[in-house]
């Protein structure tokens, strides 16, 4: 199955990003495809390379980036939501790119299922 994922919350403050990551990992592990992960609202903070969690904690920014590299998952940060929150090219972590909301609609159309992670 082809999945699209929408992450609506930032890392650490909320479990949404963890759940989305674990879901994507499990889906890929079972032979499914994750076409794109779209980061919206505070979810754009998942792409901040200045994020520095304590060394014994999970590093979500890095984990997403590694998934993008290993499994060719497209990680898109919403440009409008990102600009409000200072997530621009200068602080963008590896594996992410910034684009418009059209990318969310597009993956909704292209995927068999779009999953929303947030409240």
């Amino acid at each position: 199955m082809k999945f699209g994922i929408l992450v609506n919350e930032g890392p650490f403050n909320h479990q949404a990003s963890d759940s989305a990551y674990q879901f994507a990992k499990a889906a890929i592990g079972r032979g499914h495809q994750v076409l794109r992960v779209f980061f919206y609202y505070d979810g754009v903070n998942n792409a901040n390379k200045l994020s520095e969690p304590q060394s014994d904690d999970r590093n979500l920014v890095k984990l997403w980036g590694e998934m993008a590299k290993t499994h060719k998952v497209d990680l898109v940060v919403c440009v409008a939501a990102g600009m409000r929150r200072g997530i621009k090219d200068e602080v963008l972590a590896e594996g992410f790119h910034i684009s418009g909301l059209g990318q969310l609609t597009e993956v909704g159309i292209a995927a068999d299922r779009l999953l929303v992670f947030g409240d």
Binding site: L6, N8, L35, R36, Y40, Y41, A68, K72, D74, V76, A80, A81, R84, G95, F96, H97, S99, G100, L101, G102, Q103, L104, T105, E106, V107, G108, I109, A110, L114, V116, G118, D119
Partner: protein, 130 residues
């Protein structure tokens, strides 16, 4: 950064429903989801918007959040018709519980019961919450 993949979406029309459950101010979700509604409509998708719980306040007439330093974005809902987004649903139970009437809204809506809304939701391809 790697090249953005392009998906073949030509000619595909899906049913997108945007679900608004939160009060208009206090969180940014209602404002940002509205931007997303307009984009889906621009992609010529079968787009609808549902208002339930405190989300019904988003389209209440007479909003003035100036004292909060915020912008009244309720007029944007009136722009939806220009994008052919005409399926706007208000859940009756939420409206009644908050003492609102159909004339209190800035846009023309269809009032549906929770059971009817559940049925409409089940018919959608995509549900996006904000």
């Amino acid at each position: 950064m790697s090249e953005e993949p392009v998906f073949d979406t030509q000619g595909v029309v899906k049913k997108f429903m945007y679900v608004n459950r939160r009060a208009p101010y206090g969180t940014i979700y209602p404002l940002e989801i509205l931007e997303s509604v307009l984009v889906a409509a621009a992609f010529e998708q079968d787009t609808s918007v549902a208002f339930l719980d405190d989300g019904v306040f988003q389209i209440k007439k007479g909003q003035d959040p100036k004292e909060l330093g915020m912008k009244n974005f309720s007029p944007t809902f009136r722009a939806l018709a220009g994008y052919d987004v005409e399926k706007l649903y208000v859940e009756k139970e939420s409206m009644d519980a908050r003492g609102l009437k159909v004339d209190d809204f800035v846009v023309k809506v269809r009032v549906v019961s929770a059971a009817e809304l559940a049925k409409l939701m089940a018919e959608q391809d995509i549900l996006i919450t904000g």
